[in-house]
Amino acid sequence: MPDPVQALIKYVLLALLYLFMLRVIRAVWVETRQPQAAPSISPASSPTPYGSNHQAPGTPKPPPGPEKLVGVSPAEVKNREFPLGAELTVGRAPGCAIFLEDDTFVSQLHARVFRRDDGLFVEDLGSTNGTFLNGVKVTAPVKLSKGDKVQFGKSTLEVRK
């Protein structure tokens, strides 16, 4: 093959190489400009096929079951109130909805309290010191009802209406 042709092919391939990089950049750019729906916390309102499809979108009904957690002990959390939404994370990481910053027995992301169609549940997320419901260690998502005492690390919270 004559040299000029080879040189031409080389330029074409180099151009193609940059075209590839541009396409990569565009793929990233498109995503950053129009971010996908912000990570939704609630499984119930999730648009993914995984979510439970028990309710039509846009028609929120009042959630059943208890409505808040109230601190019992120790003194740092006593009488602090945590209103319950569709899902709350419990932990010592600053982003947690139930932010137990003073309890060093609480893991960064300790547990979550979430609502499904049939009520309110608590689930341990692999915490170091465990989550206890009325003194019994939580190993699977467990349903909560009014008056239950949930312990994360050293902090105890009570479920109230």
Partner: protein
């Protein structure tokens, strides 16, 4: 059946471009070197396409929401690397093809085995033990082997392997897991000395131990590039975990001290530094490789001589340490820059994954893995261009070398797993809804 996410469509399109590009470069290199089209170009392109499609299908099934650009970028770098290895040594090219196949197999296996990042977080001490064990392996008499003054190979039968390549991933997982748990303890002082609150050293103990041990091992094996990689990984992750710039200063001081010590005591290190500071005086010895590299880069000019058209085979270690130089000679500044852009985009995507992850362990691991990729690229590219002393370390995905290729595909699979996890925030909810039993089993 869920619709194919847009990200996978993007990935597929990019993969097709990768195959076209690699094929074009391979054909051109054949013409440049031998004057005709390489006989095996058909099977080669078919194999490359098949491998990337296997990886792509695995992504659709196992991590459909993950980042779309990482796999094609890795495939492109691997493809370009293969073209230049084949152009330098057909024998090494055959081996590299086998390693690439193995790399993709391990990539898929990693995606299958590691379903959630949390699973590996729990095994932190296992990973620490595996990492350190792998680092120690080359020192075992009988299977360890010295190559170019560095003892970091093991030799079992006909198989050469560099266990340190996999060890760095295991230790990154260990660092991430320990740091994620203790980030808050490490970012503010807890022990009072006089008027000051200082860090309680015992919180740092496991990491410092692992780090010191791995450093000692590396010095015993004479592998300076990897020592630096480890050190940078350790300090970088500490910095990411705590947000304290102090650690970077602390690291710089430690690194300065360590370098001086290495310079005084290790002949291997002294030779490298000599060849770096004053290559011309040692042009026939320690400076030879780097000077040959310079000539090659200069010879390449802006657009390069064309694939297959240089005398690159005369550069020592052309297919491993110096592959970037060969690319610079034959594709010029423009082509070499494109390769660097590729790495930049990979590291950028990795850090974007770190930003999008929500749990500290995942954030740290994504940052750590990106750091490995970035620092390794920097160390070798800066080495061959004489910004820093040249150390024998591979250019990820590009250089010839099986252990490096396989471990980089594991790294890629882990990053993509983290990315998928970050984009599916209902992961926990989804598991509860669809498969409560399995979740119960793992908690």
């Amino acid at each position: 059946m869920t619709p194919l996410p847009a990200r996978r469509r993007t990935e597929l399109g990019l993969i097709i471009l990768v195959v076209l590009l690699t094929g074009g470069l391979y054909a051109l290199a054949g013409f440049g070197k031998a004057g005709n089209l390489p006989a095996n170009i058909g099977p080669l392109l078919g194999a490359l396409f098949a491998l990337l499609i296997v990886a792509h299908i695995a992504m659709r099934k196992l991590a459909p929401l993950a980042d779309p650009v990482l796999l094609p970028l890795a495939g492109l770098l691997n493809g370009i690397g293969y073209v230049f290895i084949a152009r330098l040594s057909p024998h090494e090219a055959r081996l590299q093809a086998i390693w690439t196949t193995l790399g993709i197999a391990v990539f898929v296996a990693t995606l299958i085995i590691v379903r959630r990042a949390r699973d590996i977080e729990r095994l932190r001490y296992l990973f620490a033990a595996v990492g350190i064990g792998l680092l120690l392996l080359p020192l075992v008499p009988g299977i360890g082997e010295n190559i170019n003054g560095a003892r970091l190979w093991i030799h079992v039968g006909a198989l050469n392997f560099q266990p340190g390549e996999v060890a760095k991933l295991a230790l990154a997982i260990f660092f991430a897991s320990v740091l994620a748990e203790r980030a808050d303890l490490l970012s503010r002082g807890t022990r009072r000395i006089g008027r000051f609150l200082v860090l309680d050293p015992r919180y740092l103990a496991p990491i410092v131990t692992a780090w010191a041990l791995s450093l000692v091992i590396f010095l015993a094996e004479n592998d300076l590039g990897s020592s630096f990689l480890f050190f940078a990984l350790f300090i970088g992750m500490l910095w990411v975990a705590t947000g304290r710039t102090l650690y970077l200063g602390f690291g710089a001081v430690l690194f300065g001290g360590g370098s001086l010590f290495a310079l005084k005591t290790i002949g291997h290190a002294r030779t490298r530094v000599q060849g770096w500071l004053d290559p011309w005086i040692h042009a026939q010895t320690s400076g030879y490789q780097i000077i040959q590299g310079w000539f090659a880069i200069a010879n390449g000019g802006l657009f390069g001589l064309g694939p297959g058209q240089s005398g690159a085979a005369s550069i020592p270690e052309a297919s491993t340490d110096m592959i970037f130089v060969v690319i610079a000679e034959e594709l010029g500044l423009v082509g070499a820059t494109a390769v660097l852009i590729g790495f930049l985009l990979m590291v950028g995507s990795g850090l974007r994954i770190a930003v999008r992850c929500e749990r500290p362990f995942e954030k740290l691991l994504a940052a750590g893995l990106s750091l490995i990729l970035g620092v390794q690229t920097f160390v070798i590219v800066a080495g061959v261009t004489r910004l820093i002393p040249l150390t024998g370390i591979t250019l990820p995905f590009v250089s010839y070398g099986g252990s490096s290729l396989v471990s980089n595909y594991i790294l890629l699979a882990l990053l993509l797993r983290l990315s998928h996890g970050a984009e599916s925030p209902t992961e926990i909810g989804a598991l509860v809804a669809s498969d409560g039993q399995r979740l119960v089993g793992t908690l």
